[in-house]
Amino acid sequence: MPADRQGARPPVRISSAGALELCGIALAHPVINGSGTYDLRAALSVFGQALLDAMPFAAYVSKTITIAPRQGNPPPRLWESSAGLLNSIGLPNPGLRAYLEEELPLLEQLSVPLITNVMGADVDEIRELFEACSEQPAIAAVELNVSCPNVKDGLDIGSDPRTLHEVLRKTRAALSKPLIVKLTPNTADVAACAAAAEQAGADALSLINTLRAAAMRSDGRPWLGARSGGLSGPAIRPIALAQVAAVAERVQIPVIGMGGIQSARHARDFLAAGASVVAVGTESFRDPFLAARIAAELSGERALANFARSAAIAAPAPNRQGARRAGCEPARAETE
C-alpha cells in the first residue's frame, strides 16, 4: 500500500441524485446506528409514527443476535465516566429463532435496509447464524460481532488476526449476503485484524466497538454487575478516529466508522479518516433524533469526504454498472 494513498483520494461531489451504496445496499445518506444502541421496538412504542416518518438512520443495524436467547448481565449495567458511558448490558436478545419469527416481521416494515448483527462462539454457531440469515430476504447484510470469547482459549475471536482469518474462512461461504465484520478495538493491531478479515471475504468493516473498561464503587468493589464492561461515547472518539484511519489505510473494502460521534463535525472527521459510512451509538441516548440532524447537515453539504475514498477505490470512473459507489462493491467479487 503506498504510504500516500490517503492523500491520493480525490474529493468527490455526490449530487443529491447520486446514490450512496454500502456493499450494494443503497443508502439515502451515510449515517446508520451502532448495533445495540437503538432498540427499535422500544423506540417505536415511545415515539410512534414520528420515528417512522423521521427514521434517523439510512440503514438499521439490529442488536447482536445469538443462537440461544440471552437475558443479559445482572444490574447495575451502566456507569457514567468522563464524557463517556460504561455498559455491561451483556447482549440480551431473544435468540436466533425468536428474532427471525418475532422481530424480523417488524423490522421488515422499515423503510430502510436491515443489517442483522450476529455473534457466535465458534465456527459451527457462526455458520448456523449465517445460513439462517441467508434465507431471509428482509436482511440486506449481516454484521458479525467478533468481540466474542472463543470457546477454545477464551480470547476474543476478533482480537487475533489468525483466529479471525480462520473463523471467517471456514464460515464465509455460508452467507449469501454482504458480510460486515465488526472489529474489536481490544487488540494489539486492529489493522492486522482488518486485513485478515478482508482477506477472508469480509465486504466491509465496522469499528470501533466498546473499549474494555471498569469502574469501582467507593468501597473498592466493581460497580458493574458483570465487574467490567465496555466504554463508549465522546471519551473514545480520538481512539476510534486513529483506529479507523489505521484500518482504512490498510484495506480496500469500505469502513463504517463509529465511536463518540456527536455532531456533523465529528462525522466528517471519521469520513476524512477514511470511513465511508458512520454510525451513531451512545449519543442517541441523549437525543434520539440526533442522527437525523447529522445526516441532514451532511447531505446539505453535498461534498462528503467519504465518497473520496469510495471513488478512489471504484476507479476507473464511470465504473461497474455505472453506479456511483461509496466504495462498497463487495470485495469478494474481485478476490474470489
Partner: protein, 285 residues
C-alpha cells in the same frame, strides 16, 4: 403485537423528540430545588412519568468530565403548560440542574415511562407513601386526586420536611422525620403501619380498596414492598435505576423481577406493581 409496526402518534406531543425549553423559575424548597420549565407543546404527563433532562450550557464541564448523559426526573407537577421538578442535589448532574437560572435552556425528553395506574383508579383509597425526594411523583398523583389521597411522608429532618408544603389538597397529610424534629420520629413506612387499620376501615365503608403508591430511597422502598406483601396490600412503587436513554434503547436500566427476569425501568416502569418486584436493589449499600 409481533409483526406490526405500532402506528400510534408520538406520546411525547409536538416535536416527538428532545425539546429545548426555557427555565421559568428555580426556587429552593428546604434543601431541594423546585425547577419550573416552560413546556407549552409537550404532552401532559401522567403521574409517575418522568423526563430526561440536561442543561444546554455547562453540561459536561463539571469536575470528573461529568455530567454527560441526561438525568431522569419525575414530573412533580404539570400545570398551565409548565413542568415542575423537585430535585435533590446528589452529584454533578443534579448539581447543574439545581443551579439553573430563569432564562437558561434545558434539553428535555418526556413524558416517559409507565405511570401509576391502580392508584389512579376511581375505586382506589390511595395512600401516598414517600421518603425524601421520593415524594416528587406522589405530588403529581395527589394533584390528580384532589381531596382523595392520604399523604404519609418521611424526611430526614425539618428542613427536608418543608417539601411537604408542595402537597396540595391531600385528604390528610402526616409527616415523620428521622430525627423527630417534625411530626412523628421514624419513617414513612412506620406512618403506614400506624395508619393502615384506619385506612382499611375507611376504604371498606366507602366500598373502595386501599392502594399504596410509594417512592423513596431503596431501603425505605424495600421495607414498603415487604410490608405490603405481608399485609396483602395492593401497591405500586416508583423505582430508580441508573439510566442512559430513558426510552428503552440501551437496556441499561434493568431491575430483576420476582420471577427472575429483567425489566427495563424506563419503559416497563418506573412504576411497577409491587408484587412483580424482587428485592429493591441498593447499589450504594
Amino acid at each position: 403485537m409481533a409483526g406490526s409496526v405500532p402506528s400510534t402518534g408520538s406520546r411525547l406531543g409536538q416535536g416527538a423528540g428532545r425539546r429545548e425549553l426555557v427555565v421559568l423559575a428555580n426556587q429552593p424548597c428546604g434543601p431541594y430545588r423546585l425547577l419550573q420549565v416552560d413546556d407549552p407543546h409537550g404532552a401532559t404527563p401522567q403521574p409517575g412519568q418522568f423526563a430526561m433532562l440536561s442543561a444546554l450550557e455547562g453540561w459536561g464541564a463539571g469536575a470528573d468530565g461529568r455530567p454527560y448523559l441526561p438525568r431522569a426526573l419525575s414530573y412533580a407537577r404539570h400545570r398551565d403548560g409548565q413542568a415542575h421538578f423537585l430535585i435533590a442535589e446528589v452529584g454533578p448532574g443534579t448539581k447543574r440542574l439545581c443551579a439553573l437560572a430563569p432564562g437558561e435552556r434545558v434539553g428535555m425528553l418526556g413524558p416517559l415511562g409507565r405511570p401509576f395506574q391502580r392508584a389512579a383508579d376511581a375505586q382506589a383509597h390511595v395512600l401516598l407513601v414517600g421518603g425524601g425526594i421520593g415524594i416528587a411523583p406522589l405530588l403529581a398523583l395527589c394533584d390528580l386526586l384532589p381531596g382523595r389521597a392520604h399523604a404519609l411522608f418521611g424526611f430526614r429532618d425539618a428542613s427536608c420536611a418543608q417539601a411537604a408544603e408542595l402537597c396540595e389538597r391531600p385528604a390528610a397529610l402526616q409527616i415523620a422525620t428521622d430525627d423527630g424534629s417534625v411530626g412523628r420520629r421514624g419513617s414513612a413506612v412506620e406512618l403506614l403501619v400506624a395508619e393502615l387499620a384506619r385506612a382499611r376501615q375507611a376504604a371498606a365503608s366507602a366500598g373502595r380498596q386501599v392502594v399504596v403508591a410509594g417512592c423513596g430511597p431503596p431501603p425505605m422502598l424495600e421495607a414498603l414492598r415487604r410490608f405490603c406483601r405481608e399485609r396483602d396490600l395492593a401497591c405500586e412503587l416508583s423505582v430508580e435505576a441508573p439510566m442512559a436513554c430513558g426510552y428503552g434503547a440501551c437496556h441499561g436500566c434493568v431491575l430483576e423481577l420476582r420471577e427472575g427476569s429483567y425489566a427495563r425501568a424506563c419503559i416497563e416502569g418506573p412504576v411497577f406493581a409491587g408484587e412483580r418486584l424482587g428485592p429493591i436493589p441498593d447499589y450504594e449499600a
